[in-house]
Assembly symmetry: C5
Homo-oligomer: 99 residues x 5
């Protein structure tokens, strides 16, 4: 999986019917130091992630394993991140963001 930050949303009304009701988030991928990478993903959201939150995104066929697995989805937000630790140091803590 990759670590990403929620940066926005994508709306499409004229789409594959099986995608109706799916919320699409625009995610910016982050590197292992938490810096933005020049890559993004549009991912289906099933955990209700909010703007600027760090999330775990699964890609490929893994993204179809939740709900109806015949939807043409190749990226999905599968968790809101609480903490990321690197070399036993906390790189990111969700709670620290709102102090």
């Amino acid at each position: 999986m990759q670590i990403a930050k929620v940066r926005g949303t994508v709306v499409s009304t004229h789409k594959e019917p099986s995608l109706r009701g799916v919320k699409f988030l625009l995610l910016q991928l982050l590197d292992e130091e938490g810096q933005p990478l020049p890559q993004y993903e549009v991912a289906a959201d099933i955990v209700g992630a909010g703007m600027d939150e760090w999330v775990l995104v699964s890609r490929g066929s893994a993204a179809r394993q939740v709900g109806e697995n015949t939807r043409p989805i190749d990226a999905m937000v599968v968790g809101i991140i609480d903490t990321v630790s690197v070399d036993n140091q906390v790189l990111y803590g969700k709670k620290d963001q709102y102090r």
Copy 2:
């Protein structure tokens, strides 16, 4: 999924029979600021996207989940984009394109 812009079409008459009747669009991938990336995809179109429209493209096995899923397709246009918002600002609005 990725955001892309419809740039053209690809026609192949001598092809795998199960691909007969499939329309192939040439898509240029866009970055999260809407700028063209040096990557493109040839994708099957099931939503009738037009030239210069922004679309959502699914890749990998997700692209086979619509219609007969035994067609050798690895990229599919799954939606025409209405709006893309980044940091609560509208980056792209389909209607604005035709004012």
Copy 3:
């Protein structure tokens, strides 16, 4: 899918038995202006593409959807390209190649 040009062949006699009889083409990927990219693929050929022809190549599990789908193939030529149009201009026309 990607657009590629047939550049050569790869022969392997000592291989996974299910690959017997499969012809392998060496393809150079092309960008959306028809220029060679520094990437290639060795793909199974089911349409009988010839040297220097432009072809459509499918990759990933899509490449196993034709014939026995338990063959360890991850790239397949699925069509010989007639035309590629970009911004309503013909970038490539198969017939023009042989005038």
Copy 4:
């Protein structure tokens, strides 16, 4: 598969229910000379790898082949590496790390 070094952990409590109980490791990919690459993966751990250990990571649908294969996981640690040999020289030996 890729060779990676365990650099940390990712914790997510608000996540897809099928991911409960899955431990997520932050892995830095290594090149064939054992040097860190600017790429990382968040992978599910099923072998109990420890900090700084070199591991084998499988990605894509392969990562769902162990345990319930309907979990939205796209990267999994599948082995702790004992040795890596390149050109008949030992590049890495787990035991040498702890002399």
Copy 5:
């Protein structure tokens, strides 16, 4: 598929049980001129490839189509290459390597 050169081996005794008995080769990917690319793969070997041999490697779910397809393997050596021809010239011939 990709063309690669066998550069070494990876040994892991503490691993996913279904991987027992699988030999892992360290492969360096080659470009279409036979030059080493800065990418490698650790691949399961089912054809008994030797050091420095050129091989065909399949990646993704294709790598699980041989033997038990529930093993978490995402790269597999599927053939030892005899010849690679580019623009009707032999780029590589296995027999020439041992003159």
